[in-house]
């Protein structure tokens, strides 16, 4: 798994490539906590290149969302791959997140 981070004034975009699973979710969570520690209340996850998303990764998404919303922030998902979207939908979590078809639309929402 690789994570590329682009910071903007009101939001940070994390582009994830590869597998978010039980072997990589701790690294994923650490990256999210690191960026949240930089006072970023709003995050966009660009999941276009996510090849696999297991419950370990979904748990990180949910805990991050809860944490951000508690502080008045938001977590959005931009251009999810079919596989990322399928995992979120199978787990019934699609009602939780705001999805955007492209990264620019997600950034513009903040």
């Amino acid at each position: 798994m690789e994570i590329q981070i682009q910071e903007y004034k009101r939001v940070a975009v994390l582009a994830i490539t590869g597998r978010i699973d039980s072997a990589t979710s701790a690294e994923f969570e650490a990256a999210l906590q690191d960026i949240m520690g930089k006072a970023k209340r709003n995050l966009i996850l660009d999941m276009a290149q996510v090849e696999f998303l297991s419950s370990s990764g979904l748990r990180v998404l949910v805990t991050t969302l809860k944490s951000l919303r508690k502080g008045g922030g938001e977590l959005c998902i931009a251009q999810p791959s079919q596989r990322a979207r399928d995992a979120i939908e199978i787990a019934g979590l699609d009602v939780l997140f705001k999805f955007y078809d492209d990264r620019e639309a997600a950034i513009a929402s903040f």
Binding site: R19, A23, S54, L58, A91, L96
Partner: protein, 136 residues
């Protein structure tokens, strides 16, 4: 009839190799890409349970995967020697609100939503989990 078996160390890093084998077996069953991926997800969740809840701190265990496929039908059998853990029990279906979404139980939920049959048996010190999916 397609069959494949492999045994891997019970480590999180090894689950991907079982997923790859499941993908091959699901392809042999003629499943489309999304069905193949869903089977990989179910196998991944079951293996994660074995590593985390079954073997726990033990690092010497193994997981054996026996896969068989016939047209529109895939069977995934996972065998381990960890402590008893029964994923065939259906997950909680209690309603939740978007203000308080669940963070636990997602793995079992995925297994039961993806697979058509989930059976568990404990015998001779081994857990045996059988998961089947049919399409078409």
């Amino acid at each position: 009839m397609f069959s494949l078996s492999l045994t891997v160390p019970a480590q999180l890093e090894m689950i991907e190799s079982i997923c790859d084998a499941v993908d091959s077996a699901a392809a042999a069953a003629g499943f489309d890409e999304r069905a193949r991926y869903s089977c990989q997800l179910a196998a991944s969740e079951a293996c994660e349970n074995i590593v985390k809840h079954g073997y726990g701190e033990r690092t010497s265990g193994e997981i054996e995967a026996r896969l068989s496929a016939s047209p529109n039908d895939l069977t995934i059998e996972l065998i381990d020697s960890a402590r008893p853990f029964n994923p065939a029990n259906p997950p909680s279906t209690q309603p939740w609100s978007v203000d308080d979404p669940p963070v636990g139980g997602l793995g079992l939920l995925i297994i039961h939503r993806v697979m058509d049959e989930v059976e568990y048996e404990r015998s001779q010190g081994q857990n045996r989990l059988l998961m089947r999916k049919h399409t078409g």
